[in-house]
Symmetry: C2
Subunit: 411 residues, 2 copies
């Protein structure tokens, strides 16, 4: 289905023009003034399209266009308009703009849609202002309690709830997303695969599970000049060896397994003292429950074995665990069929990143559509997607809604 | 020569009792109140022994006992009484107490000594209060300018010169250590070799040279979940591999080569972002100039080659360079002969740590005597040396002075 490319472009430009950093990045931290301005614009566009506007108790905004069958469950679309501190033009915003444009285009086409169509802008997806990410979808899906989120503070000590009130977006619990026939989230890939392999669309089948480990290795701090190499219990040598071995094991384990060591530091952190203690983080992701458990087991065993060889001890604590997400096969199928009928070059893909869709998947039938990120970049001003891919993704969103409206989606 | 063990013990106890931490460590940071009290005691003991007391412009204190030949160059002994923040009982203090006791015992023995005997307490050897270490001996030997040292501030912003004035230890440039026949520094090993191998004395032949490198590796920061292992330019993977390889190369290079990576950190330091940049330090030590140059060359080449294999770039800057020190063979020979005649189990050893003696070696004939450190520990409350080794080291100091007084030491 053709969409109104010019309107879509203008709306992207309006929102992206609200708060631009010196480097050209976007700065709509959740519930800051620019984010509020963007939300006000979205509400005005909902009203312009004849959609009913509601806000829930987490500050998420819903626009709803009635369908022809009052008994049909609604079809929801959504994503987020907040950004990282110096973010790109499409991370989050693409899903909201594509969803809105798809709904408005469908309405303008006069197509008969049985389901109500809902578009959601989730609050604080990025976790950049209020940590952790996906707070609103997290409360809706039972990951966090509302009271815990209300009391979260940003770096300036400002509470989440107070910012909802200040911006006029503290709504009602009864407006939360209820049962839907399907929840569909269009998003940029935030990874290099589609771009590197030259595909235009990713049919997202689920998301990788995540295990996070805090690893602390203890050897023996000693004088850099007076301790012969053979008499050392160097915690950093043990850590370096462990990091190389668990990364190599992950490669051998096979795709889509990924393992990242993002933080490392050595104590006492003196240039002329052999590190007595080293901390490093492990972020481990895989797409099946059994695989996750096995990869985690292997990783821990390799770290322990390596430390032993260096005469060091190790303490490993789990700081995070998220199960792999498996999206609804009927919704995935609707995306795939629609892409195929539109002649798009599409592949099935698993999301390595977290999304509101991953939390909503815990309680509702879910699917996602990815468009390519040039060079896989995101959370930076260089983040970009070809305009033709933005348009293709938006049209595919509309086509998928039409298919979902006709499909039987099991619950 | 027998020394007065009880007097030696009492004097150690007096100084070590001045400022004791909760953990039993010593806390005589350079020129703090406890260090000043220790210095006042030392001055009183100099006077008690009939020694002339002077202070130079860096705050170092000299006690001088006249010899029988006014034309003979003096023989100097020395070390430092300042400690690390939570230091041990003998690091530094051993050399001052052993030197004083040796001089006093020689005087009491009635032996005819031609050279004046000088004992020096060098200011701020540790570099714990005013950074870097060995400031007073560094100025005397031309490593630093006096004005630069005067303006150095501790963490509270207090200037070196102001503390000299406050404590009453700002003396005169003309009192600096002049030409001597020999400078001999007794010290604890601060390493595990003598203790592990069961020797009582280290005849120090010199000190390792040091090259310090700041290494910054730049890869590509990326999303931990969405970037396949094969598409990464992980700066930490490159750093880990480089660290293991340069350490292995150092082991292969052979003793006494040592290589330490004391500091490491990754940027942007987020658990779910692949490190785009990693910094680590390299502290590299060896005993010959040619070997130092070769080991440094190999180390840099390995780091560069490793980074290339990871698609990363690397920037290597030298932050420190100290040439290997070779002590005076006649002085080393006097220590060796005296140890042998006393029936001590002594081996030749190279110091891996820096000492005031290493700087003085740039301008005067120098030697050192090591006593064992139990388990090689230093700069901590657990630092310890068997009392019989302290006594043996002190007696050997006296015996060496007697030999030096008779020896021809070339300049």
């Amino acid at each position: 289905m053709k969409i109104n490319e010019q309107r879509l472009k203008e709306r992207f430009d309006r929102i992206n023009g609200l708060a631009v950093t010196d480097e050209g990045g976007k700065m709509r931290l959740a519930l800051n003034d620019a984010d509020k301005e963007g939300r006000d614009l979205l509400v005005s566009w909902f009203k312009e399209a004849g959609m009913e506007v509601t806000v829930d108790d987490m500050g998420s905004i819903y626009g709803r266009l009635p369908g022809s069958d009052p008994d049909a469950l609604p079809i929801a679309l959504g994503s987020h308009m907040d950004t990282q501190p110096n973010g790109g033009p499409y991370d989050g915003l693409f899903g909201v703009m594509a969803g809105l444009e798809a709904i408005v285009s469908i309405k303008e086409s006069g197509a008969d849609i049985k389901s109500d169509l809902i578009l959601v802008d989730w609050t604080n997806e990025e976790g950049a202002r209020f940590v952790p990410p996906m707070l609103a979808s997290g409360v809706i899906s039972g990951q966090f309690t509302r009271e815990w989120v209300y009391d979260l503070k940003d770096v300036d000590g400002i509470r989440y709830e107070d910012e909802l009130e200040r911006t006029g977006y503290k709504g009602d619990e009864k407006n939360r997303l209820g049962d839907v026939k399907a929840y569909l989230e269009p998003h940029i890939e935030q990874g290099p695969v589609l771009d590197a392999e030259g595909h235009q669309i990713g049919i997202v089948t689920g998301a990788l599970g995540i295990t996070g480990l805090d690893v602390t290795i203890r050897g023996e701090a000693n004088h850099a000049g007076t301790t012969p190499m053979a008499m050392r219990k160097d915690a950093l040598a043990a850590a370096s060896d462990a990091i190389l071995k668990i990364q190599a094991n992950c490669v051998e384990f096979g795709e889509p397994a990924v393992l990242t060591n993002g933080i490392i530091n050595a104590q006492p952190a003196s240039k002329n003292i052999i590190p007595g203690e080293v901390y490093f983080s492990v972020d481990l992701r895989y797409h099946t429950d059994e695989g996750m458990a096995e990869l985690e087991k292997q990783t821990i065993a390799i770290i322990e074995e390596t430390c032993k060889a260096y005469g060091a001890t190790v303490d490993i604590k789990q700081y995070w665990r998220a199960k792999p997400a498996h999206f609804h096969e009927t919704i995935v199928g609707c995306v795939e069929e629609a892409a195929s009928e539109a002649g798009l070059d599409a592949i099935r893909i698993i999301s390595g990143a977290g999304h509101d869709a991953v939390f909503i998947n815990e309680v509702q039938p879910v699917g996602m559509i990815f468009v390519p990120s040039i060079k896989g970049m995101s959370h930076c001003p260089q983040e970009d997607t070809k305009w033709e891919d933005i348009v293709a993704g938006t049209e595919l969103t509309a086509d998928t809604i039409l298919k979902l409206d006709k499909a039987e989606v099991s619950r």
